[in-house]
């Protein structure tokens, strides 16, 4: 087992494949003076779950917002399959196969499941009118055959009436529907019960087996440890650990997190 007193950056072994997303030397300042991230190198490989951990204010949310195109870095580069790409908006990030599910799950409570799934990417006729029949059939197929959500009978159910776990599942269903490559999950278990959390963790493992890459942002190292292949620890805007699961254990991770 590795030395548990270590607090320096420990780089996970570089894999031979080109990462799907690679971020190099990312620095982010807010208002020109407040440093949120400093010289961070982060990558997301294919079919990998990365546990992005760190305390409040560590820079996790800023990093997620940069990957999802909501924020632009002050310095640094982003590569998609080795090709430099500027994520100037969340739309560009989505076009590159990145879907972010925030704590509030990006759902609109006053709309039904079908309209939520297609929101921003509606199936339309030439004049921009909704092709409701097509959308309904596709949503029904998705909920029947690809992502079965307990308790959901119809895509016309109002999202505001669903439980936390069901909402989480709808968010993931939306990401899957549009065949995204990378799922960024920001504190996905914070609103879930114990049972829902376990079901959710099982679900994201299945998604990895189906070919998706997942970044799991969480305070809860025990949840991350159950499913992640790699751990990336941020502290005060800097990377202090980037390690494969095979090279560490829960005790070591806990000690490093507490030390920072």
């Amino acid at each position: 087992m590795s030395d548990t007193s270590r607090t320096d950056i420990k780089a996970a072994p570089q894999r031979e494949q080109t990462p799907y997303i690679e971020m190099r030397n990312i620095t982010k300042y807010y208002g020109g003076t407040i440093r949120a991230l400093h010289d961070v190198n982060f990558r997301i490989n294919r079919r990998e779950i990365v546990g992005l951990v760190g305390d409040n204010g560590a820079g996790k949310s800023t990093l997620i917002k940069i990957i999802s195109g909501v924020l632009q870095p002050t310095e640094g580069q982003i590569f998609v399959e080795g090709k430099e790409t500027k994520f100037s908006s969340s739309k560009v990030a989505m076009q590159n196969g990145i879907e972010t599910i925030y704590q509030d799950m990006n759902l609109i409570d006053c709309m039904d499941i079908m309209r939520n799934i297609f929101c921003g990417r509606e199936t339309t006729t030439s004049m921009g009118f909704l092709d409701l029949k097509e959308m309904q059939e596709r949503a029904m197929h998705l909920l029947k055959n690809e992502v079965t959500i307990e308790g959901i009978r119809s895509p016309e159910q109002l999202v505001g009436n669903l439980s936390g776990g069901q909402k989480q599942a709808v968010s993931i269903a939306r990401a899957m529907f549009f065949k995204n490559q990378v799922l960024l999950l920001d504190e996905p278990t914070s609103a879930l019960s114990v049972r829902e959390t376990q079901a959710f963790l099982n679900h994201i493992q299945r998604l990895r087996e189906e070919g998706l890459s997942i970044v799991l942002v969480t305070h809860n190292i025990f949840h991350a440890y159950q499913v992640a292949d790699r751990f990336f620890l941020l502290s005060q805007g800097e990377c202090v650990l980037d390690v494969d699961k095979s090279e560490t254990d829960i005790d070591e991770l806990t000690k490093i997190i507490v030390a920072h």
């Binding site: 969340s90 925030y102 609109i108 297609f118």
Partner: protein
């Protein structure tokens, strides 16, 4: 006995179906008031002339002025914003049209200029709101006074006559039986708004923007553009309402349209539109506007003093908001 039970369960099923609609509550209240008013009119035809041709003409003439504006206010409120300057826009657009026409400008150019003024005011309001992030309530409160000041300045606080001739009267204010053409304009605009809100992708984006602005932004929706668009649509509709109203009375008063902004918000709220955005329906706003005038009309027919109107409208608004909130929580 069995037949009675079947009839009751059928009525209950219909009630539940209507109640389940987005605008089910207002529809039930509206129908109930109509049934009572029509019943009273049939029972006392001499004392309560609700169904008389002249009364129906008054209703069909009055509702569109507020109703057309309420259609735009509804879109804007669903996207999470307010516009208190619509009454001033209504007056300025009318004044510009009348002044241009009286100065010899072709009528169609004067009408288009009035619509353009409304779109411009809406665009300026929207631009300041989305750029400054200051609540639209405050920005448009200032805008309301500013444009009203411009109206008083341009008109020198005097009325402006507007007599465009029979052609324009036929397009905007003619009668077809008891129904006035302006009511048909209102219905046509409501149908267009319904298709836009419920069947077009931009309608979906309006609900998303008002329902959860952060989620909408994260889903790639340009929420600023959506809000700007709604401010401009409302400006255009406020102008159109001003044009129709001015054509009807052949005159522009510098204080015309005062209070319309709050009445339009009231119509939408009564129709179930949420003050915080994300919820609302075209049918609800339509019936909300119609209900306000129906209550006013019934009170006039009962020869109630004028202050009863405000009292009842105030009560209806409070009841509507409380009822909608209770139903939302359920």
């Amino acid at each position: 006995m069995g037949e009675t039970n079947a009839r009751h369960s059928g009525a209950r099923a219909l009630f539940n179906r209507v109640h389940g609609l987005k605008s089910g509550n207002i529809l039930i209240v509206f129908v109930a008031i109509q049934v009572i008013a029509i019943g009273a009119s049939l029972a006392f035809p001499q004392d309560f002339r609700y169904l008389s041709t002249s009364n129906l003409q008054v209703l069909f003439r009055s509702i569109p002025t507020l109703g057309i504006i309420a259609m735009g206010v509804n879109l804007l409120m669903i996207s999470g914003e307010f516009d208190l300057s619509v009454g001033s826009t209504f007056a300025l657009a009318s004044l510009v049209m009348a002044k241009l026409f009286n100065a010899g400008t072709p009528l169609i150019v004067a009408i288009l200029a009035a619509i353009a003024i409304g779109i411009m005011i809406g665009g300026v309001n929207g631009y300041i709101v989305v750029k400054s992030n200051v609540p639209s309530f405050i920005i448009t409160l200032g805008s309301m006074w500013f444009w009203r000041g411009i109206v008083l300045l341009v008109s020198q606080a005097s009325n402006e006559a507007f007599n465009p001739g029979p052609g324009m009267d036929a397009v905007f204010t003619a009668s077809i039986g008891p129904v006035q053409v302006q009511f048909l304009w209102f219905v046509a605009i409501a149908i267009i708004c319904w298709f836009f809100l419920e069947r077009h992708k931009l309608g979906n984006h309006i609900f998303a923007t008002g329902g959860n602005v952060n989620a909408a932004r994260a889903l790639g929706i340009n929420v600023k553009r959506i809000k700007m668009m709604n401010f401009m649509i409302l400006g255009a509709l406020a102008s159109l309402s001003g044009i129709i109203s001015t054509t009807r009375v052949n005159n522009v008063s510098p204080i015309q349209g005062e209070g319309l902004e709050l009445q339009a918000i009231a119509a939408c709220v009564i129709g179930g539109t949420a003050l915080m955005g994300g919820r609302g329906s075209v049918l609800g706003a339509f019936l909300g506007a119609a209900l306000l005038f129906t209550v006013q009309d019934v009170l006039l027919l009962l020869r109630a003093p004028g202050y009863y109107l405000r009292l009842f409208v105030g009560l209806i608004i409070i009841l509507a908001v409380v009822l909608n909130e209770i139903l939302r929580k359920k």
